[in-house]
């Protein structure tokens, strides 16, 4: 174990008007840990996830990434974002760019790498997620599962230190969920630090190191997956599990 956690949230609070979405959140995530964020709808999972690359601002508290508080704006913020990959529920591939261009854009424009250096890496990443044959197509020509795998490759092309996933399989047809989870599982095995909001309990059980359960803007359980699923400590979590596992 190295000294400092890769991600640390300290007394983080956030409101949407009168709604207190994040209530005094304290959380440390060491390098290489895979954290699954669970909780009922509206509990603040997405918001928490999005504060870490500052797609959402916070009202008070501090978020540290790799030892330094995350910057509020400008070049430093852009730099932080390049170190934290993000995968969205709705893929959000750049619609007017080909698959290969989607993956190459960040390294070229943000990291200022040469096209000739980026392209082999981008093609390798597309191969890793199994869509190398689609490199020259546009996003709308791909299935949802393929698009989401490209989105993962696009994030990986930045060589991030951590990855955020906000319900990456929720918009997919059931038969495509597995192919995306496979990619995520292999990332987890390779030691990527990951925060994953998901309703896929199989992934939470088998790929996660830690489960965090949120309700009403608070973290109310923080446990190893085994313990969380077999012996949850709160009634809220028991209730949540009974509802989600009966489906």
């Amino acid at each position: 174990m190295t000294g400092q956690p890769l991600i640390r949230l300290e007394n983080v609070d956030k409101h949407y008007g009168a709604l207190h979405v994040l209530q005094d959140i304290n959380l440390e995530i060491p390098q290489g840990q895979v954290v699954v964020l669970l909780g009922p709808s509206g509990s603040g999972k997405s918001t928490l996830c999005r504060t870490i690359n500052r797609l959402e601002s916070i009202d008070s508290g501090t978020i540290y990434f790799d030892g330094t508080p995350i910057p509020a704006e400008g070049k430093q913020l852009a730099h932080l974002r390049s170190e934290v990959g993000m995968v969205f529920q709705s893929f959000n591939l750049f619609a007017h760019k080909t698959i290969l261009e989607n993956v190459m854009l960040g390294p070229q424009k943000v990291l200022k790498e040469k096209k000739s250096d980026v392209e082999p890496r981008a093609r390798l990443l597309l191969e890793r997620v199994g869509v190398q044959a689609q490199a020259d197509k546009y996003p709308s020509q791909l299935s949802g599962g393929q698009q989401q795998r490209v989105a993962i490759a696009r994030a990986l092309a930045m060589e991030p230190k951590a990855m955020l996933f906000d319900e990456p399989t929720s918009a997919l047809d059931p038969e495509m969920v597995g192919e995306v989870l496979d990619v995520m599982t292999s990332l987890a095995r390779d030691g990527m630090t990951m925060i994953v909001v998901t309703h896929e309990m199989g992934f939470a059980r088998h790929a996660a190191d830690r489960v965090i359960f949120m309700a009403d803007g608070q973290i109310i359980e923080d446990a190893e997956p085994d313990q969380f699923f077999t012996n949850p400590g709160t009634d809220r979590a028991k209730d949540f599990l009974s509802r989600i596992l009966t489906h």
Binding site: L55, F88, N92, V110, M158
Partner: protein, 224 residues
Amino acid sequence: MDVLLDESNRQAYLSGFTWILLLTLVSAVFSLVLGVILAAMRVSPIPVLRWAGSMWVQLFRNTPLTLIIFFCYFGLFSTLGFKVSNNITVNNFWLGVVGLSVYTAAFVCEAIRAGINSVPAGQAEAARAIGLTFSQSLTMIVLPQAIRTTIAPLGSTLIALCKNTTIVGTIGVIEASTVMKDLINSNGDAVIEVFIMFAGTFAVVLIPTGYLFNWMSRRWAVKT
């Protein structure tokens, strides 16, 4: 078409439409540049820029163009001494360009902003998430996709601009509508002919322009 058989009338006709063409082209360039800047201001994360952009649009979109052109002449030129040329016609031309551009830019801005709003928010979010700055995300991700929905309204704005250039006749540029009025005054027996000739010239140019812009917007639509 006897009126046009007269050599000096033909010269007047040509020179009138040359002014229209010049006013349109030069103002189109300025209002496009200005309109893009205003649209960028209106979607920027900086509140004071958003406010300034929106003030511009509200101010110029809701003021009659004739008033703006008069202001350019009496305010900018007569009172403030704005002068780019000693040739009075050339100076009036530029005063007209200023008025047309600040006015048309408000419409260009709104067309572009509507286009930007038609691009799903997730596109800009994904751009920010990989570390692109606001201006990179705007120019590389959002605007290229906004063009698709912007091109047809921009075509309408260009057509409106072309017709609006005739207002510059009121501050002493002898453009087509002024020439037409003069020809009607001196050829009372050919009013209909003269009118059809001038209106027809606008129609012959502007109708295909409209089709061209619609065609372009359809062409760009297949890209994604």
